[in-house]
Symmetry: C2
Subunit: 626 residues, 2 copies
């Protein structure tokens, strides 16, 4: 999808008038809050100069000092022009800015001294993302009308009449959509603020009053399963021609009290199909806009598995904070810089996370100025074999519900496992929230209920009569502290259960399946056919043929579908093989295997020594006594 | 090892006189160069205030702005006192500071206004690492004399007499040590500067003149294999009692033109035993010093595998830059903060890298101000499936040989593989060096010669007569783009070669071994006994018993040593099993396996469809024609 409907204003080439340290263009940033601060943290090591327009000592200015900063409000047109005069490109960390002045700067230019110093000339400064995108996004109703026209799925919506007709307009919406429906302010709100849920006709008058004079629209109630978000990087050439969109993976976002508080990567219990669809829709949304940069696309996943776009933020976003540690090679802040300065290499970039899971928890100001301190302290002192915890404070004074920092946890296994690991942090955060909202209840269960320990190995057998043989292997797994699950799934008696089990394990944290079976022993091979995971087969000796029937049934798989076969009844070796395989990914299991092998050797050395000491006859005697 | 010889001066508790944003102690930093800058980059997100004493616009001040900074020289005693008055603890980013004033501040105190504002009181400010450590380290000769007394291995050294006796003293050293030997200035030099190699008696007079009036010492020539370095974190309680040392892994450092230019983690071709010994020696060295912080221990590994301590830096160090990305949960800068502020959790910290390999390359100023630009640009535009590249610029104006930045590459496989991946960067760096040192030669081979592609899978067989069977599996490995190696190692004809092969593969990047054998097929099982890696056995059908002899020889391993056995002659499945196992660690192989399975299914669907179209009789006819 291109930007065919609204041809972009061609951007001028960067004009360099002010001298600077680096050979890279100077970025002018409207707003110096936490998003600007983290942008500066990414810009510093890259040698990119960012000139900030905001108050003295704003969060971004604490982390980036240079002589180009301007003190003042990012809403002040004169200051914006002063900033533009010093910079090669302008960007924003907040969409609530005056787009008229940005349009003027991009299309007409700002006055700068002429090269001879005797007069002034007009310098056009590109604005990224485009002022057109910012203007569209400022009106949430128009934004979604535009997306709907592009064929992007959004919730059904209706503009509410203003003035004396407002109440009748609202009643008409209630008749059309039914109750409940959402009443929203079209402008100036974010993080779900400025929204009103209308439960019935009785709410209409109160809601109308509370929302005040602003333009309103109504949205059909969306019974959603969860909220999703995708960050998308958009690139353009210098002439404003669309180049590409690059989506990050989809995340699950949790909102409490109308504020985003928690982000989970990957989303929990969402199919690969839905994840891909969310990335596709988000890419389409951002391709339909104008300018360079990273954008957040917030979406609802409905209970019937539809995805509806809720809104877009034309900037780095709370839902992308986790990328600082999870996608360190190209965090959303680095992506913003690479996009705006057109630094994306022609062979593309990799936005794949370097960890399997991440959770972001916002640090919000609590009931008292120091309420959040214990949350920060807990995070600072957290260390875990299976997770890393990172604290980000923004240099802001705490106020109730203010975003003053965030914590990111990265995990080496599944997101459920990680949620389990960080549950003390979540519990602490939830307690601070309860204090803040003035509740006297005791803290509820953590929002994320700790799941059972997620397995790395699944052990299954065709019948409980195999349990005696398989238990030796299970004991080995316990000895090596391998998280495992045990199931009975018969290939012949419960073929559907067996197939569902294979699919579940393939999609889980499980890395290896051990399957034992006897006679016409089809279970290991059938599981191998249904999963991409390595399957280890244990031939269990049945009533005939001394187990050779079981062995040949398991080992003689056709070309294409391997099954790693062990000796007859040797579940011990199956478990040891599983541990060797885990060692490929987890060095600690390799270390334990080396120690186990060394111990086995020591035992033989000791026996040999004893044999040398007492001679073979007494040794045999000793053995016979046992 | 404690600090029994020189009991530390008890540190006073933090005294808070100046108000500040965060509830954490304020750190005063002498020096605002790149080490200070990276310290500030770590301090910002943790909400730690760092007050810097250095010139305006020094690298650290660009990345950290607050009202506590002081403009001036970190060697100016008055300015140091001003800084101390504002801070809760002092630290240094360079060891060439006046320790007298630090001792005074730590033991007597600095004048600060009294609580009532009518007079002044003395405030003691802790200095970390201790001024005693800094003082000892400033004299490289005394430093090593001290280490030698602690039982730490150092090169043999002799102090050179001063004044008119210097030349005769030098001649005596030549007689004692033989030639060549190293002549070194005891103070004020670092990065190997101020060193002179004396090749024979003829050099003595010139060397003596060139070294000037400074105190000198001579060091016996150490024919070293490579230079190693270990960063060590040291903790103490508030009373100056030693708590613990925490070593990072050992790295290999490369020096060119007496400047550290490249760092390799892990060191190439160094045994685990040497690595552990280096960590142990480095820990002993740092335990013998005083104060909190991170320290670098630089060492020589001699050609006969001895480790000699060269020198210590009492601060973050060039050899630890790689930890920013490789040990993100606790980089050397974060470790410096955690140590100085006593934030290390009682259950300990994890300093284990989160990637298997990393390479740090310094960006040095070249022949011209912009010489390094192409190196930076190449790094910025590098992206690779098996490596991430990070650029760090320090906000310094380029001067010839000045450290103006560094590049870190992190890899997902071995350090040799990573060196291969980043060889274009190394080539570029070496070219810029040749320009700088004024050479007219064309660029030499990269300092790191690209090794052969390091294997993930090793395929071996007992005899070349097995090659026909094994080749099918090798083709599958090629189809899946798996790096592999193929060897012939007979368990019976070349038992020692077979065992060496197993040991080599265990220590290499290899993750899985596939072994084929026939008859009394001992090779797979014997390899399994000699390695901790998963071994996949392929029974090759020999001249008797239709392969059942081979199968049973491989599959019926004793408990304790598993061998994953495939069907007779089925090397295809062995390769597919190896790829499933690689998928446990490398998701791309899982994806390829899923695609392969989907393709197999599609082929069967297509056949079934064709059968439905043309009927079984014509289908059979078509098959018979093939």
């Amino acid at each position: 999808m291109g930007n065919c409907l609204n041809p972009p204003v061609p951007a001028v080439k960067f004009i360099k008038i002010y001298p600077k340290m680096s050979n890279k263009p100077v970025i002018g940033l409207l707003g110096g809050g936490q998003l600007g601060r983290m942008l500066c943290e990414a810009a510093g090591p890259l040698g990119i100069t960012v000139a900030i327009l905001d108050e003295e000592n704003s969060p971004a200015k604490q982390a980036n000092h240079n002589p180009l900063h301007i003190t003042g409000s990012f809403k002040d047109p004169e200051k914006i022009k002063q900033l533009a005069a010093k910079c090669d490109v302008l960007t924003v960390e907040i969409e609530h800015v005056e787009t008229g002045i940005l349009e003027e700067i991009a299309t007409k230019g700002v006055e700068v001294p002429s090269p001879d110093g005797n007069s002034t000339v007009l310098k056009k400064v590109p604005v990224h993302p485009s002022w057109k995108t910012i203007r569209l996004i400022q009106d949430k109703y128009q934004q979604k009308e535009y997306f709907a026209k592009q064929g992007i799925p959004v919730a059904e919506q209706v503009a509410i009449a203003e003035g004396s007709e407002r109440l009748s307009s609202l009643r008409a919406v209630g008749d059309k959509f039914g109750y409940p429906f959402m009443l929203k302010g079209a402008k100036g709100s974010y993080d779900g603020r400025g929204n009103y849920k209308i439960d019935g006709p009785a709410d209409l008058e109160t809601a109308s009053k509370q929302m005040g004079d602003q333009p309103l629209y109504a949205e059909k109630w969306v019974p959603f399963e969860m909220e999703l978000a995708v960050m998308v990087m958009r690139t353009e050439d210098d002439d404003g021609n669309f180049k590409a969109v690059h989506p990050y993976p989809v995340v699950e976002t949790i909102h409490e009290d109308s504020i985003c508080t928690k982000v989970f990567y990957p989303p929990r219990k969402v199919s690969d199909g839905i994840k891909k669809e969310a990335q596709k829709i988000a890419s389409d949304v951002i391709a339909s806009l104008w300018g360079r940069g990273v954008f957040a696309v917030e979406m609802f996943l409905t209970k019937d598995d539809r995805i509806l776009v809720n809104e877009v933020a034309p900037r780095p976003h709370n839902s992308g904070h986790y990328t600082i540690e999870a996608v360190p090679q190209m965090s959303q802040y680095k992506a913003q810089l690479y996009s705006i300065l057109d630094m994306v290499p022609s062979k593309g970039i990799c936005l794949r996370p370097r960890v399997p899971s991440a959770i972001m928890l916002n640090i919000l100001g609590g009931a008292k100025g120091e309420s959040h301190d214990r949350f920060v302290k807990l995070a600072e002192s957290s260390s875990d074999e299976f997770a890393d915890i990172y604290v980000h404070l923004y240099g802001k004074v705490s106020k109730t519900s203010r975003k003053i920092g965030h914590i990111t946890a990265t995990g080496f296994s599944s997101v459920d496992q990680l949620a389990n690991t960080v549950s003390p942090l979540i519990q602490c955060m939830d307690e601070i929230r309860l204090e803040r909202i003035g509740s006297s209840e005791s803290a509820p269960k953590p929002a994320v209920s700790p799941p059972p320990q997620t397995p790395l190995v699944a052990v299954t057998m065709g019948s409980d009569s195999d349990m005696g043989v398989m238990s030796a292997g299970i004991k080995i797994l316990e000895e090596f502290a391998v998280p495992y699950v045990v199931r009975i799934t018969s290939a012949h008696r419960t073929p559907h259960l067996m197939m569902r089990f294979a699919a579940e394990m393939s999609a889980s944290t499980c890395k290896v399946i051990i399957a034992g079976a006897g006679g016409a022993a089809h279970l290991p091979g059938m599981l191998a056919s249904e999963t991409h995971l390595p399957v280890i087969g244990v031939p269990v000796k049945a009533s005939q043929l001394d187990g050779l029937d079981s062995l040949l049934s398991i080992v003689q798989m056709p070309r294409g579908i391997p099954c790693a076969t062990m000796g007859i009844n040797n579940s011990t070796n199956a478990a040891l093989e599983a541990i060797r395989i885990l060692g490929v990914a987890y060095p600690e299991y390799s270390e334990r295997m080396k120690a186990y092998q060394a111990k086995m050797a020591d035992e033989v050395y000791a026996k040999d020594e004893k044999l040398g000491e007492i001679g073979w006859a007494r040794y045999l005697e000793g053995m016979q006594k046992k």
